[in-house]
């Protein structure tokens, strides 16, 4: 919540306070109403215990009334200050694209469900981003293109996980050029971005980095291409992967500014999220769009509560 006109609100509050202070300081003696009759034994009447009790009760209600009026004044000031609900974050987040890139080669078959689970978790952390899913082996297949429909993403990831039953994913095995072509897969994933220069781009690449076959692009070339495009690449490897393969992947991925994580139930996906959000700040400094929505209910609520409370207290005090 932010205040659009804090100075106006403060001014109104100041004026109302000043009016209250002046009213208290310049309080005149209560005036005898016209037609009132003189009464000689007022002191005796005032000393009756019941009269004192009634006077105390009236005083208490007067205090309640003053408090309620103060609340109403605060409410009016708040209304004048025009609070707004600034919703800038989702607008920023929607300027990020993440391609989830999964190796579905035979060596990865054991862990694809875990990878999809990790992707699902990542998608849960990243709200408002556009996500895409690409599956590759010797060729890449688009699971779903870039979309910011979060429920669709969840649905698709779940259905992919259901369909991973150990067989090859249709369309990922093209010809006999080999399998698990990581470089080609990564390049394919890079091509799933729509080329909007204002959007930050991230690839989350899940692979064991064990290429078998003739790849058009080596991993080095693919990583260099990603770095040229300003795409952040994160690697996710099975935790029982060979050290050299993981190391090689990590080295390449670090060129783009990313890192490699081991696939693990407790995998610190927060690192990826933070890194993605960091790219956002770097990429989008100029057109930070603030979506401000008038926030009326706190001011209106305070004013209503104050006015109704004051009226109630006055009625009770006069009773």
């Amino acid at each position: 919540m932010a205040l659009t006109q804090p100075w106006w609100g403060a001014l109104v509050l100041l004026v109302l306070t000043a009016v209250a202070v002046i009213a208290v300081l310049w309080r005149r003696r209560p005036r005898v109403p016209g037609g009132a009759l003189p009464f000689a034994a007022a002191a005796r009447l005032r000393s009756l215990p019941r009269f004192r009790a009634l006077a105390r009760r009236r005083l208490r209600w007067a205090v309640v009334e003053a408090t309620a009026l103060a609340v109403a004044a605060a409410g009016v000031s708040m209304l004048v200050a025009r609070p707004v609900d600034v919703d800038a974050q989702s607008a920023q987040r929607s300027n990020r694209d993440v391609v989830l890139c999964m190796d579905v080669s035979g060596s990865m078959q054991r862990v694809v469900r875990d990878v999809l689970g990790a992707f699902g978790e990542l998608a849960g952390h990243l709200e408002g981003e556009r996500l895409a899913l690409v599956l590759f082996d010797s060729a890449a297949v688009t699971g779903f293109p870039l979309t910011d429909d979060a429920s669709f993403v969840r649905e698709q990831l779940a259905s992919e996980a259901r369909e991973m039953t150990g067989r090859r994913v249709p369309g990922t095995g093209l010809g006999d050029v080999g399998s698990s072509l990581i470089g080609d897969g990564l390049v394919s994933c890079l091509q799933r971005f729509d080329g909007d220069p204002d959007r930050s781009r991230t690839v989350v690449l899940a692979t064991d980095n064990q290429t078998s076959g003739r790849s058009l692009y080596s991993l080095d070339e693919a990583a260099a291409m990603a770095a040229d495009d300003g795409v952040l690449v994160f690697g996710i490897t099975p935790n029982d992967n060979t050290v050299t393969a993981t190391h090689e992947l990590t080295e390449q991925v670090r060129l783009t500014g990313g890192d490699t994580l081991l696939l693990d139930p407790n995998m610190p996906l927060g690192d990826i999220v933070e890194a993605v959000e960091a790219t956002q700040r770097r990429e989008l400094e100029g057109p930070a769009r603030l979506e401000a929505e008038d926030l009326l209910w706190p001011g209106v609520g305070l004013t209503m509560v104050g006015v109704v409370g004051a009226a109630f207290a006055r009625r009770r005090g006069m009773a």
């Binding site: 003189p38 005032r46 009269f51």
Partner: protein, 289 residues
């Protein structure tokens, strides 16, 4: 019409056939004395005034006879009236306490004047005002007017104890002191002063009540005459009970104190004619005598 004249008319109507007031018989003295009213004749004794000898009767009888006259003793009525702003307050929704007090005072004065007694009015606001007792209606009227003038909302408060002190010293002869006051509490000081007055004079007390502030039928708001602050509307049943109990307890204490001193008193009913109420007080005194 002047207040005294009006009250005199009412008193005359009310007393024509019934009573002549307290003066009747009180000062028709048993002592023979000097006056124009013939009493009887008796033998001349050494020392009698020669001017009193009834020469014609003496000639018929052959020895000196002197005329005896009824001793003329005029009583003095002292009206000790409470004044001040408290008396400018209301006794009921339609009656000011001052009017009740003045009517009561005028009734006493009318009775006294009807019997040729002297009437003096004393009141005490800032300073004591006492006029020389007079038997002339015009003078009495003037005194009552002065009383009225010192019972305005801006008048200083009355000092009842000082007023009673003055009443005790202003006349030496035995007379009647009629005290007209508000709903006062008779404390030890007042009681001591009243005791002194009772020894010297016949004392009557007329109490003018205050308006009931908790009366639900009251249409107008009230304000305290002492500090000119408005009173809130009082619609509380408990408060009403407490107030009525307070008034009743006060009246009980007062009448107990007055009956210890054997002083006759009455509390005026504000919305009824004043003259009959005062007359019945006077009659009760006469019966007691």
């Amino acid at each position: 019409m002047a207040r005294l004249t009006r009250i005199q008319t009412q008193v005359a109507l009310a007393t024509r056939h019934k009573v002549g007031g307290w003066a009747e018989g009180v000062h028709a003295s048993v002592n023979a004395g000097r006056s124009l009213e013939f009493h009887d004749l008796r033998e001349y004794a050494r020392g009698d005034d020669v001017a009193d000898i009834d020469w014609k009767a003496s000639a018929r009888r052959g020895s000196l006879l002197v005329k005896r006259h009824v001793a003329e003793r005029r009583a003095t009525l002292l009206l000790a009236a409470q004044t001040g702003r408290a008396m400018a307050a209301m006794a009921s929704a339609g009656t000011v306490k001052r009017d009740l007090a003045l009517d009561a005072a005028a009734t006493f004065a009318s009775l006294a004047l009807a019997h040729g007694d002297y009437v003096g009015v004393i009141h005490r606001g800032g300073a004591t005002v006492s006029a020389r007792p007079t038997s002339r209606a015009v003078h009495v009227e003037r005194m009552l007017t002065a009383l009225e003038r010192s019972s305005t909302p801006t008048s200083p408060d009355a000092d009842l104890a000082g007023l009673l002190d003055t009443a005790a010293t202003v006349t030496r002869r035995r007379g009647i002191v009629a005290i007209v006051c508000g709903d006062v509490e008779i404390d030890a000081h007042l009681e001591a002063r009243l005791r002194r007055l009772v020894v010297q004079h016949e004392v009557l007390v007329v109490v003018v009540p205050d308006i009931d502030p908790t009366d639900p039928a009251l249409e107008h708001p009230l304000f305290g005459v002492d500090n000119e602050r408005p009173l809130p509307r009082l619609r509380d049943r408990t408060l009403r009970d407490e107030w009525l109990a307070d008034v009743a307890a006060r009246a009980a204490r007062r009448s107990a104190a007055l009956s210890r001193l054997s002083i006759r008193s009455t509390t005026l009913a504000p919305d009824e004619p004043v003259v009959p109420q005062v007359l019945s007080l006077v009659r009760s005194v006469r019966r007691a005598a």
